[in-house]
């Protein structure tokens, strides 16, 4: 039954992709309808007319788009059901599909870990499919054919679901490539812009390099076992060195997809150029699939983890978290900001995963379960709020035709509903209490604070420092999202696009984000719901669950024991409502003190203009100054002079560009190296046919000599 649900989810997403292809087949469908009409004249007339109605010139594309997204949404619902059923049932279901090569059937395995990620994908896909129909309406069919978008969205989702189901290395890689290549076409969807093509190519390049690393990682494992099924790989007996090499390859491959610093550069390039609902899926979900791969590879296939790997993950995660949020803060483009913030969140997840490995290797499986739980919960939460924010960014882009934060402002009055949804996303991602982001961050801190059980002095001093880095990250994230919300929705509008903006009319485009915002709040107040499910994942993967502190009741969250730490979000909510309610009621009793509106104080100079407000770059100036080594800052002030002696200033232009260090320090050397190598190799290519014949002859002789 569970497997049936999972298969249905995959098939439905395939089907939605194929349905998208029908966009250009209206004529054929009409002919088919006519044929059907002639063949069975007895079929009820109403059915016929309904069919003909659907195929009308104007209605057909709209209906088809809806149908595609309905099928995609169904696939999401099935994925959620499948995930829930395996998580609750705690079973492991295996199967074989005889596709692919005859002697290599595809092995399928559906366990709690896959089920949990099915849940994440399902929720995200459902929200996106509510949102999609309204969003894609803005694309002109002649420039951006829906068939491409529909087909590759379906294939992309199917690819992600298949990765989770795979139980052998071949199947895994096929699904992985399906996911990567389908998403490449989605990134390149608006290919008329050269920058978009470049971003898409960069993405494809990094995805393929990553895939190579993963294949090599599987290869190392397979070298010590007798097959490519995960069962065989699990039983591989590796020496420490080879296990380390396999881990490094997997980390490179999956880390590239997940966007860990310094292999994160494709994220801020690729996410902004894809359509918003696709960036939501890529950032919210695809990065999680990479995370799944890493967890599967390290905790399941490699089995016994080493604490050094944990340290590597911890350090990389800390660097990514801090780097991600600092770079995010400087982005003027809303979607690249969100992409960098994904780097940050993936960094946090890697940090906690590293802690989990350290505890696991030091013989504290219960604390390892806590770390894994915190990591998975953060992955889940990040999928919710990042999806929400990307969909919100899509709405803003749809209504203002802008993504530059410096050009916005004052949208809270024009788009009240969107602003509430976006605010919930910002509060969740800033990890404020009562929202879901806080719970996972709290658990991360709790994991880090268990460091006293370790014997290694270096680890014991390293982990608290990384916890403090986590605190810094959280505080910087709050600053960043105060900026985002404040610049976009508050104050006065900074461009005429924003003046003319109005609330979105399409109900679906609000329903998708509303669903996610509701879940963000729900799991912030009742985290126990999802933690119970994740506990099953930890139980199956590590053979250890958190102690179930049932003595305190379901209201409480006490991950280690009630004496160490506890948090009761429902009580906090009640307290907050009480305090706010009492003060609200008490202070507003007197009718004489009813509120009065007056002009904003303008320091007595008259006429506040939008230009007097703090802009995005002004808001982040103190950060730029404090952390100035983190970026490559190109800040110039140009003055146009005029007058007889060029002494009067006619105009002043401020120019600010903030760049990533990884380009000049990591990628450019690699690029130069590749080019130099290519030149060296190029010397043997003379372009002369006789030389090439000579090479062939020499090779042949060499081969014959080797064989004989």
């Amino acid at each position: 039954m569970t497997l049936f649900l999972a298969y249905s989810a995959v098939l439905l997403s395939f089907f939605s992709g194929l349905l998208g292809l029908m966009m250009h087949q209206r004529q054929h469908l009409l002919a088919f309808n006519q044929y059907w009409l002639n063949k069975f004249p007895t079929v009820s007339q109403r059915c016929q007319s309904a069919m003909a109605d659907c195929l009308e010139e104007k209605r057909f594309p709209i209906l088809l788009r809806r149908a595609v997204f309905v099928v995609l949404g169904l696939s999401g619902v099935f994925a959620v059901l499948a995930g829930l059923s395996v998580l609750i049932g705690q079973g492991v279901i295996t199967d074989q599909i005889s596709l692919g090569l005859p002697w290599l059937p595809w092995h399928v395995r559906f366990d709690c870990l896959s089920g949990f990620f099915f849940l994440i994908i399902g929720i995200a896909v459902s929200a996106v499919s509510l949102y999609g129909p309204g969003y894609v309406n803005s694309y002109k069919e002649s420039e951006h054919p829906f068939a491409v978008l529909g087909l590759f969205t379906g294939l992309f989702v199917a690819g992600m679901l298949l990765v989770l189901l795979a139980d052998d290395a071949f199947f895994f890689m096929i699904a992985w490539e399906l996911m990567s290549v389908a998403s490449y076409f989605l990134v390149a969807f608006q290919h008329e812009n050269p920058a978009n093509r470049r971003a898409a190519f960069l993405y494809l390049l990094m995805a393929e390099v990553g895939a190579l690393a993963i294949i090599l990682g599987f290869g190392v494992l397979a070298g010590f076992s007798d097959g490519f099924t995960f069962d065989a790989l699990r039983n591989a007996q590796l020496s420490t060195t080879w296990a380390g090499i396999a881990f490094a390859l997997a980390l490179l491959g999956f880390g590239m997809k997940a966007g860990i610093v310094p292999v994160h550069v494709w994220l801020p390039e690729a996410h902004p150029v894809a359509p918003s609902h696709i960036s939501a899926l890529m950032s919210g979900v695809m990065l999680k699939v990479a995370l799944y791969g890493l967890i599967r590879f390290c905790f399941d296939l490699l089995g016994d983890v080493h604490w050094q790997w944990g340290v590597v993950l911890l350090v990389l995660g800390t660097v990514s978290a801090l780097g991600g949020i600092l770079y995010a803060m400087m982005q003027p483009n809303l979607k690249s900001l969100l992409a960098y913030s994904s780097v940050e969140n993936i960094g946090i997840i890697f940090m906690v995963l590293g802690l989990s490995m350290i505890f696991m290797a030091n013989g504290h499986p219960q604390l390892a379960a806590l770390g894994l739980l915190a990591a998975l919960l953060h992955a889940f939460n990040h999928a919710l709020f990042k999806n929400l924010l990307f969909l919100g960014a899509g709405i803003i882009h749809h209504q203002t035709h802008q993504l530059n934060i410096d050009m916005m402002g004052g949208l809270i009055k024009k788009m009240p509903k969107t602003s509430v949804l976006f605010l919930i996303g910002c509060m969740s991602i800033s990890s404020l209490p009562l929202f879901n982001g806080f719970v996972s961050e709290w658990l991360a801190f709790q994991t880090a604070l268990q460091v006293d059980v370790l014997n290694n002095g270096v680890l014991r001093s390293l982990i608290p420092v990384s916890a403090a880095a986590l605190a810094l990250t959280a505080a910087l994230a709050a600053a960043c999202f105060v900026k985002v919300f404040g610049m976009i929705f508050l104050g006065q509008s900074r461009s005429h696009y924003c003046d003319k903006a109005h609330e979105i009319q399409d109900k679906g485009m609000l329903a998708g984000p509303s669903l996610l915002a509701g879940l963000c709040f729900l799991f912030g107040i009742f985290p126990g719901l999802i933690i119970g499910l994740i506990n099953n994942v930890a139980g199956q993967l590590l053979g250890e669950t958190l102690p179930n502190d049932a003595a305190l009741g379901w209201l409480w969250l006490a991950p280690v024991s009630a004496n160490q730490a506890s948090y009761a979000p429902p009580l906090v909510l009640i307290g907050a409502l009480l305090a706010a309610g009492v003060s609200f009621w008490f202070l507003r009793r007197n009718p004489a003190t009813v509120m009065r509106r007056a002009e904003t104080w303008d320091c007595g100079f008259g006429g506040l203009t939008p230009k007097m407000q703090y802009s995005c770059s002004a808001f982040t100036m103190p950060f730029r100054r404090i952390f100035n080594k983190v970026w490559i800052i190109d800040e110039r002030i140009e003055k146009d002079m005029r007058g007889a002696m060029d002494q009067d200033v006619a105009a002043i232009r401020y120019h600010l560009e903030v760049h990533d260090h990884s380009w000049p320090h990591v990628y450019q050397p690699i690029e130069n190296g590749v080019n130099t190598l290519a030149k060296v190799v190029g010397r043997i290519q003379t372009g002369n046919i006789r030389t090439y014949l000579g090479y062939s002859f020499a090779t042949l002789i060499l081969m014959l000599w080797v064989i004989s």
Binding site: G410, P433, W442, A468, A474, Q492, Q613, P622
Partner: protein, 314 residues
């Protein structure tokens, strides 16, 4: 019964906060050879403000209107978490010290948004500076707090204080560092000299005041009260974590009375120290605040390391 005492304690906390602010002002005036206002002047101010008609900027949205209530209730919630006159209260279990820091972040988030909402240069300036300073202060504070929580191996403040109390008078080097770090952070977070000056409206130096410039009437009263609460909260944290003696461990009337007297005495002494420091030190340039806070962070780190190396050695 426990819950009742916990609620009463929190209410007492909230009610007493303006008194501390009044006492602090008195001390400062005395040190600076000025005539001091009455100790209960902050209560009069709050009462006056709450009876005035609030004037709200035209530009303001609902964020601006609800922010004072959110800021106030988040700070009150933070106050319920901290053991004030007694330990072992159930409210401490509903949220630990990390959640308390989260409440502060919650209040700050809305304060900064309210500053940006009215669309003036002042509001943006205040928000930007506040977020900068707080994002540097938060890790330093958590570093200091983690030293305590690792010593007591709990993040529950009430249990941690009880732990310190049971250990008796032990000189821990880590606590000395943590105390110094937490004090520096407290000064920065509550907007006192040398980081911010609560008494000035000079635009070059304003942080907190710049954000709340457009507030008036009951909104201003709530925000003022919240910042007085925050000041008291940091005072109670420092007093009760590092010098917990006197705090009530049982819920008898006598113990609670002594607890109240003890904490009021400790806070009064702390306020005198703060007043002396504020009188002696000049305000810092904004971009030197980062050095100040990095120093606090470094102290916190040293505290943590000395805990790991000296105290938890096995």
């Amino acid at each position: 019964m426990n819950w009742l005492i916990a609620v009463l304690q929190s209410m007492l906390f909230v009610v007493l906060a303006p008194l501390l602010a009044g006492w602090l002002k008195c001390c400062k005036c005395y040190l600076q050879n000025r005539k001091a206002p009455s100790v209960i002047q902050p209560y009069r101010d709050l009462l006056k403000l709450s009876h005035k008609q609030p004037v709200v900027a035209e530009q303001a949205s609902w964020i601006f209107l609800i922010s004072p209530y959110i800021i106030f209730s988040a700070t009150v919630l933070a106050a319920t978490v901290v053991p004030f006159i007694a330990v072992n209260l159930p409210t401490s279990a509903s949220a630990d010290v990390i959640v308390m820091v989260g409440f502060f972040a919650f209040a700050r988030f809305f304060l900064a948004l309210a500053g940006l909402d009215i669309g003036t240069a002042f509001g943006g300036m205040g928000s930007s500076r506040e977020m900068t300073i707080s994002s540097l202060a938060e890790p330093a504070m958590l570093m200091a707090v983690f030293t305590l929580t690792m010593t007591a191996s709990t993040t529950n403040l009430s249990l941690a204080i009880a732990h310190v109390l049971n250990e008796g008078l032990v000189l821990r080097p880590s606590f000395v560092f943590a105390l110094a770090a937490l004090t520096l952070v407290a000064i920065a977070e509550t907007g006192r000299i040398p980081v911010d000056n609560p008494a000035t409206h000079l635009e070059l130096t304003m942080i907190h005041e710049a954000m709340i410039l457009e507030y008036s009437g009951r909104h201003l009263a709530l925000i003022e009260w919240a910042s007085q609460l925050k000041l008291m909260l940091y005072g109670v944290l420092i007093a009760n974590i590092f010098l917990p003696w006197g705090i009530a461990e049982t819920f008898s009337g006598q113990a609670l009375g002594y607890g109240l007297l003890a904490i009021m005495g400790k806070l009064a002494v702390l306020a005198i120290f703060l007043a002396i420091a504020e009188t002696l030190v000049a305000k810092m340039r904004l971009f030197r605040v980062q050095e100040y806070l990095s120093f606090a962070y470094l102290l916190g780190l040293l505290g943590m390391l000395s805990h790991i190396i000296l105290e938890a050695a096995r």
